[in-house]
């Protein structure tokens, strides 16, 4: 036994300090602020899409950016909720958003296979790598915010919380990159932008659990 239970209770009650309950709105606001900061810095450094300034909107680009934004919000809300455990809570909403965003790499692979022109020239690879690196870099602020939130909270499924935090951060990073990236090709968006999610989800799954264990 660690110590006498009555003594433990007296000790815990003696050191009690007021705490502010974790609020869903607070966590969401912090995460969105972190996402906005990343997007602002990235656009400030690299510039916003030139075609937007010219008043031209590409449908594919709008749909894909919207999908990643929706995934970022859904996964972020899930992570925020995971910090406040409750028997009976359902944390599966992010799966549907991930499945929808998963259509992009599938469509990209189909188009790339059927396309006559090469989809992986050195120039395209270089541009794709830039988007990958930019997306991962832009995801870091959201990633750090969500890990900080989970450390304050009491997530009961550490691996899943890490995975979803990685997806949320990655989707937020992709959204930020989409504000700059001038490429409207489905192969580029579906493969390179989605690759950001793979990297951050993998990192979240394996890096986050030791950081939030309690």
């Amino acid at each position: 036994m660690l110590r006498d239970s009555d003594a433990l209770i007296a000790e815990l009650a003696g050191v009690l300090e007021p705490v502010k309950p974790l609020r869903l709105g607070e966590g969401l606001a912090l995460s969105l602020a972190a996402s906005a900061l990343s997007a602002g810095v990235l656009v400030g450094l690299l510039g916003i899409r030139a075609e937007w300034l010219a008043g031209h909107l590409d449908p594919l680009q709008l749909v894909s950016t919207g999908l990643f934004l929706g995934l970022a919000v859904a996964a972020t809300v899930t992570v925020i909720a995971m910090g406040r455990p409750q028997i009976g809570s359902y944390h599966g909403g992010w799966r549907w958003a991930t499945a929808m965003a998963g259509l992009l790499p599938i469509a990209a692979a189909i188009v790339a296979i059927g396309r006559q022109a090469p989809s992986f020239s050195p120039e395209l690879m270089r541009h794709g790598s830039e988007c990958l690196a930019g997306g991962v870099a832009a995801s870091l602020t959201v990633f750090a915010t969500l890990v900080w939130w989970l450390r304050r909270g009491a997530p009961t499924s550490l691996e899943r919380a890490g995975l979803v935090a990685g997806i949320a951060a990655g989707a937020s990073g992709v959204f930020a990159v989409s504000l700059h990236c001038p490429d409207n090709d489905i192969v580029h968006i579906g493969l390179w932008h989605s690759a950001v999610l793979l990297v951050t989800a993998f990192a979240g799954r394996f890096v986050v659990p030791p950081l939030i264990r309690w």
Partner: protein, 163 residues
């Protein structure tokens, strides 16, 4: 708990005492009696350190049960057979639990596991048998017992907040 979050020490002490009694009953039969007090105290400490994660707009018991399940699964993961892992006959608690408590009980969590995994965890991690003894009792090979324990604990960890 709402008063406790505001710093009311008297209300908090009463809450901890009530939680301690509830946890004693909650963990009964799901942990070796020699480990029971340690686990209850670990859970009380977790309640203390994570008290900000309770939402005052939601009921307290499902939150406490989630904390208790997490600590229980973590305890089983850390548990290695020791000499004192004899299962004693005396148990604390009773079987006539209210409906809500039954709904969030540990047995309900175990019921989500395939029978082979539940059996392996119960025999080795709760009853304190060796891998070889559990293998003989279940007819599973020793390596299969280990695999079932590993997979079962992983699944339990993922199911903690499931009803």
């Amino acid at each position: 708990m709402a008063l406790s979050q505001q710093g009311d020490k008297q209300a908090y002490a009463a809450l901890l005492e009530a939680s301690q009694r509830w946890l004693q009953r909650y963990y009964a039969r799901r942990i070796s009696p020699s480990q029971l007090d340690d686990l209850v105290q670990e859970t009380l400490i977790a309640l203390h350190t994570k008290r900000a994660s309770w939402d005052p707009a939601r009921p307290f018991l499902p939150w406490l049960a989630a904390i208790a399940r997490y600590r229980w699964v973590d305890h089983l993961r850390r548990l290695y057979r020791a000499d004192e892992h004899e299962l004693h006959e005396e148990f604390i608690g009773c079987d006539d639990e209210p409906e809500l408590v039954a709904r969030i009980s540990l047995q309900r969590l175990l019921n989500f596991l395939p029978p082979a995994q539940e059996q392996a965890i119960a025999l080795v991690k709760i009853d304190g048998l060796t891998i070889a003894e559990a293998s003989a009792a279940t007819g599973q090979s020793e390596s299969l017992v280990k695999v079932n324990i590993h997979r079962g604990l992983k699944k339990l960890a993922a199911l903690i907040e499931k009803e």
